[in-house]
Assembly symmetry: C2
Homo-oligomer: 377 residues x 2
């Protein structure tokens, strides 16, 4: 997964300290794979996954649209060359003054999941398009999906009727099947829910047009994952099954699936030690940890592939931990990580599949450590 | 817990967005309380708890020493006016080049918990003082203490003998009873371990001088906590019990206990909603969450007191969540938080006891949100 370009960059540039290196060629390939898998869906890249300007610029040039979580992300997408009509303000939790700022920047598409949010948008972005997020169960996702976003389908109907009454354009329904979703048929039941919302609104004379099918597309970590094509086939089949010939416009919002496998973190082994003479396992401490960008190791949820210069040597399970004085800064302990016995202090390691949800999660200065640097090549 | 000075600052300055306000008068009071409670112990403020320059400057002027986790923190302590002899490089996981940098800055006191770290220090900071961290069980601590730091006491003996052999000054033993420790007698068994290490080294002609009793001193959240005095009495009694009349030099490293109750986060209610018409509870979304500074709500570990302008009105348990598009950005859900039913979008809330472990944990730009701002008054 570490491309020759990334290896070459690390070898020739020898960047000091932990850093993420992203290969734009992989992002380009991912974009084309999504476009090919779901040719009729608009791609809204989830900026939060990795907002590096060079990534946004590439995707804007390829024709991507952008799913933004804040006004700052909207500004980044605009700076990268996206026009406002290609931006969705996809966060269901927005300050009214941020809605007004987005509206002033030309953004006209907003996510909601409550009557209260509809009221804010009707005041701050009159006439805008809104889509309502519906709760899904997230079964099969490797990153926990809580009930934080969305409302039950029946309430979505009420919310969209209310939006219509307040002069907004009730535009569609969204859902999210859960991040790092490895079941290709996970979209099916949510699409059935979406269709029911469409039908109920149609009875009230409101014609919805769009289904935002969210993200959830996985990146390859240790286990193989289905190809974009397989997701495309399963989703297309579900769309036809539930909507028949009257297909809605659709949106997908890949984040992890767009950039996850495009990035590799170069880190360094700071210490290898044991806690007692007869300790069964070693502790390996890196110069990056849970607070330096690897937040998704929380509860050992995401298990990254790790490459070392000593691969091929005999392996032994280790506890893998970060460099801070925080006892919670341990990545893998319950489920220890096999690493070469010969791994030594000062060795570089490559943590693969780290293009998404790393730099931005990085703490600003925890323990005095700098945030994770990124190089986009 | 919100002082009149903090209330006045928020009222007159009306800072935009979530922010932490720290009252230096409270930090000063805390410093005097520790000094009074343990008059014979040197106070090494744990910089990682809150490295704001004004806090470090005040503590340096009061005579505090500093426990630093990185070269950046060492530099901050020096910039605040501390001399290098008042600085401990307390992280047991250090790059050899960082040890050399600290040594070049004049730092001569280092933490270790392994033979490997001793070797690095002997090369990069020859002749320095080292203390070895011993594992404790952390029972009674409200923030999880893992096995990440320290080694078993028998290994500490070997590590300190090895340090002596490599020309370092084997100076003492350290331990940490666990953060937010509310049992005043928690130091007793660790001090017994420390004494055993002292005795075993004495048999080999190595006279240790110092016990670093770490941090763990709590700050008041919702429950009352023992006073600094009570910790002082319990610790002094344990020291006499285990060391008799031959008392070692001692160090304490308060972080949370020094600044936790000195700070208050001002946040804003962004949304109050329900997931369905018959939902039993509301969701309250703030403009700060787990990735904006409230990382210690992880697993709902730390439960902060929250003040609103509507206190006194009828209360109802709520789910409390942050503003990002991350489903894990929920502070209190399993154990919901009672808040006034009248609480509304746009209301300010004050999150108390947030002077420690907030600003530095803040993500650098997650979802495009700025890191938590701090004002020290």
């Amino acid at each position: 997964m570490t491309t020759a370009r990334i290896l070459d960059f690390i070898k020739t540039r020898r960047p000091e300290g932990p850093c993420l290196v992203v290969d734009l060629d992989v992002v380009r390939d991912n974009f084309h794979a999504f476009r090919h898998a779901l040719p009729d869906s608009a791609i809204y890249y989830a900026v939060k996954a990795n907002p590096e300007p060079a990534i946004l610029k590439l995707l804007a040039s390829l024709g991507s649209s952008f799913d933004c979580a804040s006004v700052a992300e909207i500004q980044m997408a605009l700076d990268a060359g996206a026009t406002a009509d290609r931006i969705s303000f996809g966060n269901t939790i927005k300050k009214e003054r941020d809605i007004a700022r987005a509206h002033a920047l030309g953004v006209g598409l907003f996510a909601v999941d409550s009557h209260e949010e509809v009221e804010k948008i009707s005041r701050a972005a009159p006439g805008a398009k809104v889509f309502c997020r519906v709760l899904t169960d997230g079964e099969g996702a490797e990153w926990p999906l809580s009930r934080k976003f969305g409302c039950v389908p029946q309430m979505a109907v009420d919310v969209l009727v209310y939006a219509h009454q307040l002069g907004l354009e009730s535009y569609g329904v969204s859902f999210h099947v859960g991040s790092q979703m490895t079941k290709v048929d996970a979209w099916d039941s949510a699409l059935a829910d979406a269709k029911r919302v469409f039908s109920q609104l149609a009875k009230q004379g409101i014609v919805l047009q769009m289904v935002n099918m969210g993200g959830g597309f996985p990146t390859k970590y240790l286990r193989d994952i289905p190809k974009a094509e397989e997701y495309g086939q399963a989703i297309s089949a579900s769309l036809r099954k539930h909507f028949g010939n009257n297909l809605p416009k659709t949106i997908i919002e890949p984040g992890r699936g767009m950039v996850g496998n495009a990035g590799v973190i170069k880190a360094e082994v700071v210490l290898v030690s044991r806690k007692s003479d007869n300790d069964n396992h070693r502790w390996v401490f890196l110069d990056i940890g849970k607070f330096g960008g690897l937040a998704e190791t929380m509860d050992e949820a995401i298990r990254y592939p790790i490459r070392t210069e000593r691969d091929g040597d005999e392996m032994e399970p280790c506890v893998l931990a970060g460099p801070t004085c925080d006892s919670a800064d341990v990545m893998y302990e319950k489920n220890m990580y096999p690493l070469p016995i010969s791994l030594s202090i000062g060795d570089d390691v490559l943590i693969e599949g780290t293009g998404a949800y790393t730099t931005t999660y990085s703490a600003v200065a925890f323990n005095g450590f700098e945030p994770l640097k990124a190089y986009v090549i």
